[in-house]
């Protein structure tokens, strides 16, 4: 029986915010989160089309310190993984 291609197979090649290095800037292309979280992310500036810059990253796998426009925020890597970046 033929398998339908899994959607995750492609996302592996896509850039996510988690992979962005300190000092780099990229444009957000999509948020793969549930509706409620989507609203909160958007209210803090994390929405498709916006540019995001990684200011620093906490040690021991701690959160990332980001800047979007004039807003700065911290986000866990786990959540950063669900934010896709434009190539």
């Amino acid at each position: 029986m033929p398998y339908a291609p899994l959607p995750t197979a492609n996302t592996a090649n896509l850039r996510t915010l988690e992979g962005l290095h300190v000092g780099e800037t990229a444009r957000i292309s999509a948020l793969h989160v549930e509706a409620d979280l989507h609203k909160r992310f958007a209210a803090l500036g994390l929405r498709p089309g916006n540019w995001v810059r990684v200011l620093r990253s906490a040690s021991l796998g701690g959160p990332m310190h980001l800047r979007i426009g004039t807003t700065e925020l911290i986000l866990r890597r786990h959540e950063a993984r669900s934010i896709a970046l434009a190539p």
């Binding site: 989160v33 409620d36 979280l37 609203k39 909160r40 992310f41 958007a42 209210a43 803090l44 500036g45 994390l46 200011l55 620093r56 906490a58 040690s59 021991l60 796998g61 701690g62 959160p63 310190h65 800047r67 979007i68 426009g69 004039t70 807003t71 700065e72 925020l73 911290i74 986000l75 866990r76 786990h78 959540e79």
Partner: protein
Amino acid sequence: MKRVALLGMPNTGKSTLFNRLTGAHAKVGNWPGLTVELLSAKLLVGDQMVQLVDLPGIYDMHGFSDDEKVVTTFLTTQTTDLLVVLLNTSQLDRQLNFVQQMMQQDIPVLLVMNMVDEAQKLGIHVDAKSLSEQLGVPVCLLSAKYGQGMEQLLPAMRQVLTVTSPTPSFTVDASHVERALEQCTSVPSQASHALTESLDRVLLHPWFGLPIFFAVMLLVFQGVFTIGKPLQDATAWVFTEGRTLLLEPLMATWPTVVQGFLLDGLYNGLSTVASFVPLIILFFIFMGIVEDTGYLSRAAYLMDALMSRFGLDGRSFVMLLMGFGCNVPALMGTRVIRSKGLRYLTMLVIPFSLCSARMQVFVFFIAALFTATQAPWVLLSLYVMSLVMAMATSVLFKNRYVNNDAFILEMPPYRFPTLRQILLRGWQEVRHFLQRASRFIVIGVLLVWVLTNFPMAVSAGSMDSWAGQMGQFMSPILSPLGISAELTIALIFGFVAKEIVIGSLAVIYRQEGQMLVSTITSHINWIQAYSFMLFVLIYTPCVSTIATIRNETKSLWFTTLSVVWPLCVAWCVSFIFYETATYFVRA
């Protein structure tokens, strides 16, 4: 009376504006249909009195968090005549959606663009007049913190409240709001806070960040202790002198029972408690400064990796820190956490935070039984113990209360707290303390006096009195911890509020000030004192905390757990400490 609601996203300076408008006259009150208490105050707008209500900060009108539900329920059930919508002027881009949602509420809106001082520093300009024309609502540019532009706010509110303004004829859609804001604001392409950037390079350093953070906290506690202790001694001295020079001669001819009741009961108890007011003010001022600078969000960043291993997150840690002031507001602060599991886990650990009421007890016992050089370290050991208990509890319960919330937090730029803010906060805390004093402490110390002086004809505080009998009844449980019958009575009353503990000892030993210290020194040794302090640290902080947990969770089972678990831990920890320490001292 017309009603005005204050609304905005978190961190837009809502409480600052509320305090600026109402001074220190705000009241906390219940609202029909709402599960939480909201701050409100009467405000004179032009010639009419209106009621100003401070609604919780929310990100989205259609969200599902408790705070968002409170706001939507409030707006649908309570008639509101004006929505004052607060925005952070430097970050308008991400608040567009919120503005649009507010303008769809069928309630007149007044847009307040706050923190205009920061926006100007970043080179951001807003044309309030043309924005107001394009959106069809009044717009005020101001800084609630520094008072800049505040003079326009009341007239603007009055105008909306008196003139029944027609609703805008055009539809308020997102693109319209966006276009209007784009046309009326100018943001330079490189807008950032230079000072914040340099400070963060040091304070959020991957290696030095955490050590600096702990040093800052140590400095705060050390500062409270070094400045507060002489002030406390001075206050205690004034009360002792007041008794011997003024009250005793005045009451010399009064019946002995009345004298005993008023002097040994009420006055001794209350004056011992009141002497701690300077320490409490200092503590809240210091913590307030740390909070107002924006350093607490940095603490969340620094501690999150560590906290996640205990099943908590950076916000839980900040709440724990807030709990060092008072557990009750910290428990209510957990509302920002959306995951029920994480919220419950955080509420379970907050009562281990060494609050300022418990600090009083410790400061008293430490001063009585330890040298001045040992004192800060003993106090620090209790703070460490408080965190250890919280983390251990968290690890044990993290699989029961699972965190499934995203961790995302705004990092505000560093801000200088103003003297006005600091003093206002100090005053609010003292008022809060005195309110508690009138409710719990007076009744508490009087009850202690009655229980220690009755039945008639027993010698006061002896083991034949009611209190003595209670102490003896409990002694099989507490004597293995080195806690005497007198201290047991204090512990029983301390269940109501820790502020009563020292006051009740004053009543039990019929002594106050320096005399009370020397009496206690002669009755117990340092091991017993430390065991007692451990018990006070870990068992239930106060009735208010229990009531808050019950209120926030609406769960009898969880409330019971949050009382019983710390009691068991307190007994075990004190037992292990007392028996081990006594063994080694004997050996």
